[in-house]
Subunit: 176 residues, 2 copies
């Protein structure tokens, strides 16, 4: 997929639908990718995302040490890889190799972009709320494949059941 | 719709797909209903949801004063009412009357359940993080229509564009 620079002020539209994201992280030769559904926008500009990453996840220490990560948004085409990432721990194996996830370097952070994801959001840790295992992530650079108009994103319903994004309906709206 | 008692331990599966919710609130004769997409689960049990409600929203003062609200999950059938709620303020009009939203009393909180929503989650304010306008809501009672297996939930993409929930795919998974 050929991803292009995407305006940070429009990032909320990618995330507020609630897709599963694949969070990549990298520090000191260690890397991980985790499947995650517990995130929400909290601010439009700067684009800030609150994201639960438990300290039981291997990614937690990598994000904490590096202060960075990338939120990659997968679609149905790679659902089996997403499920694979969700069922394994990066402590035990290199999930990139195991699931054949091709990567490209990010521009502003050390964590990689996942080539097969239609969107990748480079993030820096802006703040934390340890009581709820929340990282507040500021999106500092966004990449989106402009050819994907209606991405078939995955939306986890629990225990490996995923709702796949359907059609888009448009209404006159004053809402941002 | 005939909603039935639903296990609190399974509530996350209703919300982690990222649907638009209609938040109802009620205090001292004032009531409101707002459309909202910025929420995430933060804990399975107790079921705790982090939810952004700005102090610019009329609902903010009602939720703060009462310490309660209900998260109702609408489907495509009432999309026009959802858009209407998102485009109006409860300071100016009674949105329940304006958009013809039928209500029923909740069992544990003062805010009403919306009859046309397939799921309604009675919540108490558990904590707040004012820096990010986050309310931490504990779901204390959940109601779901058992006849709705694959709800056509709405997922906001911005400016009145809504992705409508598509099919569900199931994979073997160790994930909760």
């Amino acid at each position: 997929m050929a991803k292009m620079d995407f305006p940070l002020s429009e990032v909320y539209g990618l995330l507020e639908t609630g897709p599963v994201v694949l969070i990549t992280s990298h520090v000191n030769g260690k890397r991980d990718v985790m499947a995650q559904s517990w995130h929400t926008m909290v601010e439009f500009e700067p684009a800030i995302v609150a994201c639960v990453v438990s300290d039981r996840n291997f990614s937690h220490e990598l994000i904490l040490e590096s202060g960075e990560c990338v939120l990659n948004i997968p679609t149905f085409e790679i659902a089996e890889k997403v499920v694979g990432c969700g069922n394994a721990s990066g402590r035990d194996l290199d999930k990139f190799a195991k699931f054949g996830l091709a990567v490209s370097p990010a521009s502003l952070v050390g964590a990689p972009l996942l080539d097969e994801c239609y969107a990748s959001l480079e993030c820096r840790v802006f703040d934390r709320i340890p009581a709820y295992e929340l990282f507040l992530l500021q999106v500092v650079k966004a990449w989106v494949d402009p050819d994907v108009a209606d991405p078939k994103t995955l939306h986890h319903r629990g225990f490996g059941a995923f709702m796949i994004a359907g059609e888009t309906a448009r209404f006159p709206s004053a809402m941002k």
